[in-house]
Amino acid sequence: MSSEPLLRVENLKTQFFTNAGTVRAVDGISFEVHEGEIVGLVGESGAGKSVASMSLLRLVEHPGEIVAGEITYKGETLFGLEEGPDGELREREDMLSNKAVRDRIRGNEIAVIFQDPMESLNPVFTVGGQIREFIELNRDLSGKEAKQEAIDMLREVGIPDPEERYEEYPHQFSGGMRQRVLIAMALACEPSLIIADEPTTALDVTVEGQIIDLVDDLQEKYGTSFVWVTHDMGVVAEICDRVNVMYLGEIIEQAPVDELFYDTKHPYTQALLKSMPRPDRTVEELEPIEGVMPEAISPPSGCRFHPRCPDAREVCQRVHPEPKEVDRADGYPHNAACVKHDVFDVGYDESPPLEKEPQLTASTPGGEDGE
């Protein structure tokens, strides 16, 4: 905690400028990743997890753009803005150029594992050739050494007969095997950080378990840090050290994993945990979160979760809470963005509860002001 984090993200905002309006996919998130840590980025589909993780590599696709915030990696500025002489925002001088990010950061320093192992590998090149290409690009190895390294890595991730499999094409691999290939690819570049974007979502549950065990072992062996993007609280519990819960582009709770599970501070996280299928509960006992997540193009006023929140009060419609430290554990802060905690001091306790209407169409008492 005391040492400088590997990666620091501050107030990152990524927006998509569409014809229908500006989509605030990532709206001011801050988090840190320390060396050797697996940090979770959790939330429902559309919460902005993947956009956030791609922003770290400055790989947001058109019409998306990082509009604010600062990303620092090993003391270098991956992204940073400053105010110019005429009040305009401009890129900071110490911000790495596109070329520097491409040549020195992507692959070398930060590697990725994507969600869909079926689509992530190029169908017309051999699996080995693809790993080797990335090794040659990101490490100072000759072609022959790179090939040997690729074969060693394939063995390392548990692919049998790696010498033969090296020459095979992606369609000759099963889904789980392909995901192992992608992990081998990421580790073979010897990065300090790996972004794993829902790497087990497309897999069978049994395979998912194997992959998680594999990553856990390899993470310990190589000491690589991970940003683990997922919607699955079960996976979070198994693998993550610290967790960031995202809702509609914001991080609403941030805590070490045990804290998050046993001392949950945000109603959304609570709801996520309750909606998780567990062997000791029947389907009837599951409590899905009411409603669907609103569009990031027109987020609700106040707390963005209030229309679906069981604890919502009138004040939640007015006050938009920034995450604040509500507790501490293991030397890490436990942050939550919910006004029911005393640190916010906006009069939650006195505020009248919101009438819960299924459609949210009826006027809510004392809540006309909206903003």
Partner: protein, 332 residues
């Protein structure tokens, strides 16, 4: 199965197709109105006895299936029959005329591929830019304009108005420079290109337009692929992504279209040969049809069908070579 065995296998598979084609053309040629014997006599009066004698001489009194078998028997020995109009062997006529047509069609494809692939890639890269819009209009023009009209316009502009290029005939590269009085191979080659340029463009424009649009669509799709995202995330330069990662996947449909459009190109060459006064197979075919020269019609149809089938087989092999997912006909 290796590539060689696969090739053999595909060629063997083509035999039934060719037999089918031969049956069909043979039947059609026999169903067309007009009597070969009367055509042979070229308007001379003849009594019934003479006609029957001639029919017997050429086996025309035999039932159709026997005549077919006789024909096929000759065909496998390289004997395609005799053209009475030209008093020459069909095989010889075709051999003399096939060169210019092949030269024309192949160069049209070279032109189409050499232009459409780079243009399609640029259009994909600059999607919805002015370049993309211009290329779309050019493609629309290319697809909707008949090739003979393009040919006539090219002659009017580049041969008649500007006088830059010749408007008729080809210079055959397989003939020696002395035949044309050319000064060495340099000038010979230069003349070959000069003569080929206009008909090649006229015939190739349709192919170019089609291929350019397909290339654009395929590249756009390929560039959105996860594997391209992954390559970017590993720091692969955009240029390499364009040339390697996205490119190779995008070429698969191009190959299919090249193979299938071979028939359009061969058909189009008939008109282009007329416009540019080229002594190719297409013109020979046209004349044979006008003159009801059955033997020649049969022969040329078989040759064109064979060329098409070979084109498709080459396409399949190229496909299997580029796309590892295509198995060589093995049962898995």
């Amino acid at each position: 199965m290796g590539l060689l065995r696969y090739t053999t296998y595909r060629l063997v598979q083509a035999i039934p197709v060719l037999i089918g084609v031969s049956i069909l053309t043979f039947a059609l040629a026999n169903l067309t109105p007009g009597d070969p014997v009367r055509l042979m006599l070229q308007g001379q009066e003849a009594d019934q006895e003479t006609i029957e004698r001639i029919e017997a001489q050429y086996g025309l009194d035999q039932p159709i299936h026997e005549r077919y078998l006789t024909y096929m028997g000759g065909l496998v020995q390289g004997d395609m029959g005799h053209s009475f109009h030209r008093n020459a062997s069909v095989a010889e006529l075709i051999t003399n005329r096939i060169g210019p047509t092949l030269l024309l069609v192949l160069s049209a494809y070279v032109f189409a591929l050499a232009t459409s692939i780079p243009l399609g890639i640029i259009a994909a890269k600059r999607r919805n830019d002015p370049f993309d819009h211009v290329s779309r209009i050019v493609a629309l023009f290319g697809v909707s304009t008949p090739s003979f009209w393009i040919g006539i316009m090219l002659i009017l502009i580049f041969a008649v108005q500007l006088g830059w290029l010749p408007s008729s005939d080809l210079v055959y590269p397989w003939w020696s420079p002395e035949t044309y009085g050319h000064d060495g191979y340099g000038e010979h080659f230069y003349q070959v290109i000069r003569h080929l340029l206009l008909p090649m463009i006229a015939l190739g424009t349709l192919q170019m337009a089609t291929l350019m649009r397909v290339e654009r669509t395929q590249m756009i799709e390929s560039l959105q692929g996860e594997y391209v995202k992954l390559a970017r995330a590993y720091g692969v330069p955009e240029r390499t992504i364009m040339r390697k990662h996205a490119f190779q996947v995008a070429q698969l449909p191009i190959i299919t279209i090249v193979g299938l459009n071979l028939s359009t190109a061969l058909g189009g060459s008939v008109l282009i040969e007329f416009v540019f006064d080229i002594n190719g197979l297409g013109r020979l075919f046209y004349e044979a049809i006008i003159q009801l020269d059955y033997q020649l019609i049969m022969g040329i149809t078989m040759i064109i069908a064979t060329m098409f089938v070979i084109g498709v087989v080459i396409t399949d092999i190229a496909y299997a070579y580029i796309d590892p997912r295509v198995t060589y006909g093995e049962s898995e």
